[in-house]
């Protein structure tokens, strides 16, 4: 066994740790692994090229950018914030937990790419979350750090909903990958048998993250309650 290609892994770890430009780190890691495996330059370049082309589906989301950019230019985010501000009872926790549930259920039905960071989180869910969070506070306005945390939580909620829903969907790649792997080893399983075993984890993920969202909201409220009394103390 040739252990030298592991150098590529080391390059990745070191590059990310030193916060070098991630694209460059990854390209260098690929080259290092290839050279360490004694591939010829021609083979390595062809491998890079065909793999790159084979993964181009991952950039498909840029097609959403013209319409999203246009709508943002005309005030989509401002409108989303104003709209959510109109609901006096919709708290941050209710908004995000509802989004988590919808995202998970849609993913289970195979509708994985209908939502996402570019399509729904940046234009809608993130500004809605900020506005819902702000409304629940005694002292007004989140500081920059808090509103960044709210946006990060919105993105995290999208990821968790997606990941732990999609595996329950029959025709999803992960299920087919598992089935294909076993089939290759002479173990025959129906995709449905595999997909159903993803349900306990899917339910656990929903419960765990929903509780965390509740905790986040409570902490935010408490922080703003104490800053108010703190300010009052100083004034006195």
């Amino acid at each position: 066994m040739n252990a030298w290609p592991l150098l590529g892994v080391a390059v990745v770890v070191a590059g990310f740790a030193w916060r070098k430009n991630p694209v460059l780190v990854v390209v260098v890691a690929g080259l290092v692994s290839g050279i360490a495996a004694r591939m010829s330059i021609g083979d390595l370049l062809a491998l890079l090229g065909t793999s790159f082309v084979g993964n181009r589906v991952l950039l498909l989301f840029v097609l959403t950018l013209p319409v999203i950019g246009l709508l943002e230019h005309f005030g989509l985010r401002e409108r989303a914030q104003a709209w959510i501000a109109g609901f006096r009872t919709l708290s941050l926790a209710r908004l995000l937990i509802a989004y988590l549930a919808i995202r998970q259920i849609f993913s289970m039905l195979g509708l994985i790419d209908i939502a996402g960071h570019a399509q729904t989180v940046r234009p809608l869910i993130a500004p809605m979350s900020e506005s819902a969070a702000e409304r629940g506070l005694e002292t007004q306005a989140l500081d920059a750090n808090e509103s960044a945390k709210v946006r990060a939580l919105a993105a995290a909620t999208d990821n968790i909903g997606r990941f732990f829903g999609e595996d329950v969907f029959l025709a999803f790649g992960a299920v087919l990958l598992i089935q294909g792997f076993y089939e290759h080893q002479g173990i025959h399983l129906e995709p449905l048998a595999i997909a159903l075993w993803a349900l306990p984890t899917a339910i656990s993920a929903f419960v765990i993250h929903a509780i965390r969202i509740q905790f986040f909201q409570r902490k935010l409220k408490r922080a703003h309650a104490t800053t108010q009394t703190g300010a009052a103390d100083v004034a006195r």
Partner: protein, 322 residues
Amino acid sequence: MLRVEHIYWLVGAFLLVAAAMNARERRWTSAAFWIVLSAPFLFGEAILHANAAGSRWPAQAMGVGVIALGVFAARGGLRTHPDANDAVERKASAQRLGNRLFVPALAIPLVTVLLVIGSKYLSVGGVALIDTAQTTLISLGVACLVALGVGLMTTHASFGRALGEGRRLLDTLGWAALLPMVLATLGSVFAATGVGDAIAAIVTAVIPADSRIACLATFALGMLVFTIIMGNAFAAFPVMMAGVGLPLLVVQHGANPAPLGAIGMLTGYCGTLLTPMAANFNIVPAVLLELPDQYGVIRAQLPTALVLLAVNFILMWVLVFR
């Protein structure tokens, strides 16, 4: 028939427009970056066909292109430009257009769903209008066009304005937009150069194979760590399954393969929540949402991922050995 390739051409054309706009402003690095990146979309099928037919120079040229993209990204010539409308103008426009602004944004998921469901019935003379192998992706592409049309009608803006705004967001994303693609490429390179085999060999050399719980813990942690390193549970699964799951857990200890596979994969997903290597989920949104910390999304996911990891381990322990 509408194939996913047609949608890719659309992506390529948009990237070329972005390049042209940058070139007009003499931002040469950005222009070159988007031009090179348009190649896999405009010529992707041709490159793969040529390579399969034995003509390797197009694929090799693309490989050189990947290296060039890495260099352009590191040169940092990619910059953001502010929205031409300031906050006050946007607020006024938001008030004027009201909830009509939501219609095009919601049209993207809605039209996608309708097309996915309806694609079975869309056919002319027995030939499906939408390639059934890639229904969701093609539907998403068409939905973006429909939404753009609706958006232009709602805002009375010109098509050029929409391209300009799209290009503004694209430049804001910059190299982060590209990262998922190069990471997936690295996954393929790791697989082809035997990185997976090397790690599996090391893992099996150090664990006590006759302890059930040690094997299961190695499998779970292996899925987690591998996914964190490679950024993708799909890449970790075959390695850990071939190294630990199948020979030790299924064959030696009689584990039930269905729950082991399903929950094992989801244990890898906990790793996906924790790694900057899964850039499209963890780094791209941090840039999109203008977070000050590029690991902000990962931080928000960390507690959920760790608790879920423990739950997954318990689930496997209970369900797999029944």
